[in-house]
């Protein structure tokens, strides 16, 4: 993407993207994206966040090529070793290579974050836009339900849900998704309220478009950018909650190399073999920092109105 600057054809692309009179919708859309990218690019912290997130994705995809060992291979003779050339981050209490487990653990982290986002964001979007556009008692009922879910602290509700569903990574994902959608519904509703009385919506309505069509193809697309910002900012929190569930033994189950569960097992040998618990914590920290920085950067570009607000 950024290498376009060195490309001889780049200036042509640039002109096409920045054209003041785009010939097609696609050109206009891509042009706006390009301008947003230019603004994003000038923010070093946001670029660092993007770098971390891209690195996470690459590590997760190429885990088998990067990891020197099988993450679950136990070599009891080599247990609890300090950093060495053979084991860059040492080994855990079952002689498993911590580096390989961290590398494979990135897959679980990404899996959790992506699935939670795919489940929670559309639910929030649907609830929020429907409540906002239809108004009246639909709005009251939906928002009341949203408020009820907001009345629980996220982690505590997730704990109670996992206790009902049973421990495991899928149930942890469902529990986190159930606790994550209400803020998205709030945002989508607020956006919808500002859009619903605009002239272009009235115009669409006069042309005979039904409510479903208006919500689906005219309101939802306009809510997505603030939603994307919020989801990205939430991903750090999702990672922390998933790690917390793993730490408590309620998320991913052994022998899965989930980072929170790895900290939990390292806790038993904390005093003498500090690295077993320390290294996975640093991995969690770096990844959630990456999502926080990326989210902050995206907010500045896509949603400058809400700058500075948590």
């Amino acid at each position: 993407m950024s290498s376009q600057a060195q490309n001889p054809a780049a200036s042509g692309w640039r002109a096409w993207l920045l054209s003041a009179s785009p010939a097609s919708r696609r050109q206009a859309r891509l042009g706006r994206l390009y301008i947003a990218w230019l603004a994003f690019q000038s923010n070093p912290l946001a670029m660092l966040g993007l770098g971390i997130v891209l690195a996470l994705i690459l590590v997760a995809v190429f885990a088998p090529l990067i990891a020197p060992y099988n993450p679950n291979a136990q070599v009891l003779a080599d247990r609890l070793q300090y950093f060495s050339a053979a084991h860059p981050f040492g080994t855990d209490e079952l002689g498993r290579d911590i580096f390989s487990r961290i590398v494979y653990g990135s897959r679980l982290t990404l899996y959790i974050v992506v699935l939670v986002a795919i489940i929670a964001a559309p639910v929030g979007l649907l609830v929020g836009t429907t409540a906002g556009y239809l108004g009246g008692w639909v709005d009251r009922v939906l928002m009341r339900i949203t408020d009820i879910f907001l009345a629980f602290p996220k982690l505590v509700l997730a704990l109670a849900l996992v206790s009902a569903l049973g421990p495991g990574i899928e149930n942890a994902i469902i529990a986190i998704a159930i606790t994550s959608w209400p803020p998205y519904a709030r945002i989508a509703r607020a956006e919808t309220l500002t859009i619903r009385n605009s002239d272009f919506i009235s115009a669409v309505r006069l042309q005979g478009a039904g409510r479903l069509r208006i919500i689906w193809s005219h309101i939802m697309p306009l809510c997505t950018s603030s939603l994307i910002v919020r989801v990205t900012l939430d991903m750090a929190g999702i990672i922390l909650i998933a790690a917390g569930l793993g730490f408590l033994g309620l998320g991913a189950q052994p022998p899965l190399p989930e980072w929170g569960a790895m900290i939990s097992s390292g806790r038993n040998v904390l005093i003498n073999q500090w690295w077993v618990a320390t290294v996975p914590g640093i991995a969690i920290f770096i990844v959630s920092l990456g999502f926080n920085l990326l989210g902050d950067g995206l907010r500045d570009v896509l949603d400058p109105k809400s700058g500075g607000q948590g």
């Binding site: 009341r144 009820i148 009345a151 996992v162 049973g166 750090a236 969690i284």
Partner: protein
């Protein structure tokens, strides 16, 4: 058919009473919405209790009990009635303070919660003090030096608070300050030879020991709370300093600040008295919210520091499949959460004349 405009206004009123026709109506609105939220809270815990795969009857009688015993216990527990009746009974019981009996401790859940809650309250309060005492000055500095290095440094400290897992930071704190440096005592609320020396009156050890004049116990309890409260307080510090900064920026750009400066008021007075004085009002809401959030953070912190509070109780019950205790604790946390949010709303209205 209603017009879009009045649709919008009714939706707004139901959602967050922005239009204030009369104080009485506002109060009524508030009470109704509070009751509905609480009822919803109970409904959620009720549903969670019903989807749980553990059969409460089998948990009592065991899986070898004959059929008629199973039937009788099922009837005694009211599990043969329709769901809405069961829900009504559940609400009625909760309103009377009956949260069922814990399988693990064999006590009524409400008694258990009364016993463990003060420990969480103590931890969260000291943590909030820590967050306010450090977070507010940091936020003020960040606002005054916006864009310069103090602002950047404080921003980084805040960002770290949003990205570090609290349980991991707790473990690292124990490793460094307890195991390596030996500055603080290990996990728990007291060293074991101080245990039971003070009669629990409030359940808050720092208060109980001070009232009893047992200063040995007081200092021991204080040394035990420093590290967990600092770790937990760090997360409220991150939030409080960030919000203080943005409130300060808002105030510092106002004309009365310029006026004060022009009149020759000293700069420290302009910042710490004039500007900060107006920041306190919205800040109260922020502090209350962060206090409520600490309830959540305390779950994991209590595990790491073996702190016998509500979070510790909740997770212990969870790991032992003690559903009455889990749901009771969840319900209490939710209710406290609602209560604190309500309190912060009311405080805001009380302190800010424009919001009345």
């Amino acid at each position: 058919m209603t017009t879009p405009a009045d649709n919008l206004s009714t939706a707004g009123a139901g959602f967050k009473s922005l239009s204030l026709p009369s104080p009485l109506r506002t109060a009524l609105n508030l009470v109704v919405s509070l009751l509905l939220t609480f009822l919803g809270l109970l409904f959620v815990t009720f549903i969670i209790g019903r989807v749980v795969p553990i059969d409460p009857v089998l948990a009592i009688v065991g899986d070898r009990a004959p059929g008629h015993v199973v039937e009788r216990v099922r009837e005694e527990l009211g599990l043969n009635r329709p769901l809405y009746e069961q829900f009504a009974i559940y609400v009625w019981d909760v309103l009377q303070g009956d949260l069922g009996t814990s399988v693990l401790t064999a006590n009524p859940v409400i008694e258990d919660i009364k016993r463990v809650f003060p420990a969480t309250l103590e931890l969260a309060t000291v943590a909030t003090l820590f967050g306010v005492l450090l977070g507010v000055p940091m936020g003020v500095l960040a606002g005054v030096y916006a864009g310069r290095w103090p602002d950047q440094a404080i921003r980084v400290i805040g960002l770290l608070g949003y990205s570090i897992p609290v349980f991991w930071l707790g473990l690292m704190g124990l490793l460094l300050f307890y195991a390596r440096l030996d500055w603080v005592p290990g996990p728990g609320r007291l060293d074991f030879f101080y245990d039971g020396l003070v009669e629990p009156v409030t359940g808050v050890l720092l208060i109980d020991s001070a009232m009893a004049g047992e200063w040995d116990v007081f200092w021991n309890a204080a040394s035990h709370i420093v590290l967990p409260a600092a770790i937990l307080g760090y997360f409220s510090l991150a939030y409080i300093s960030r919000m203080t900064r943005s409130f300060m920026l808002e105030q510092l750009s106002q004309e009365y600040i310029t006026t004060a400066r022009v009149k020759g008021v000293k700069e420290w007075r302009v910042i710490w008295v004039h500007a900060l004085g107006n920041v306190w009002v919205p800040l109260v809401t922020v502090i209350a919210l962060s206090y409520a959030n600490l309830l959540e953070g305390s779950v994991l912190t209590e595990i790491v520091f073996a702190w016998p509070g509500l979070g510790f109780y909740l997770t212990q019950s969870l790991l032992n499949a003690d559903m009455n205790a889990v749901l009771g604790a969840t319900m209490v946390v939710g209710a406290v959460f609602i209560g604190i949010n309500l309190l912060s709303d009311l405080l805001y209205k009380l302190l800010d004349p424009r919001a009345r």
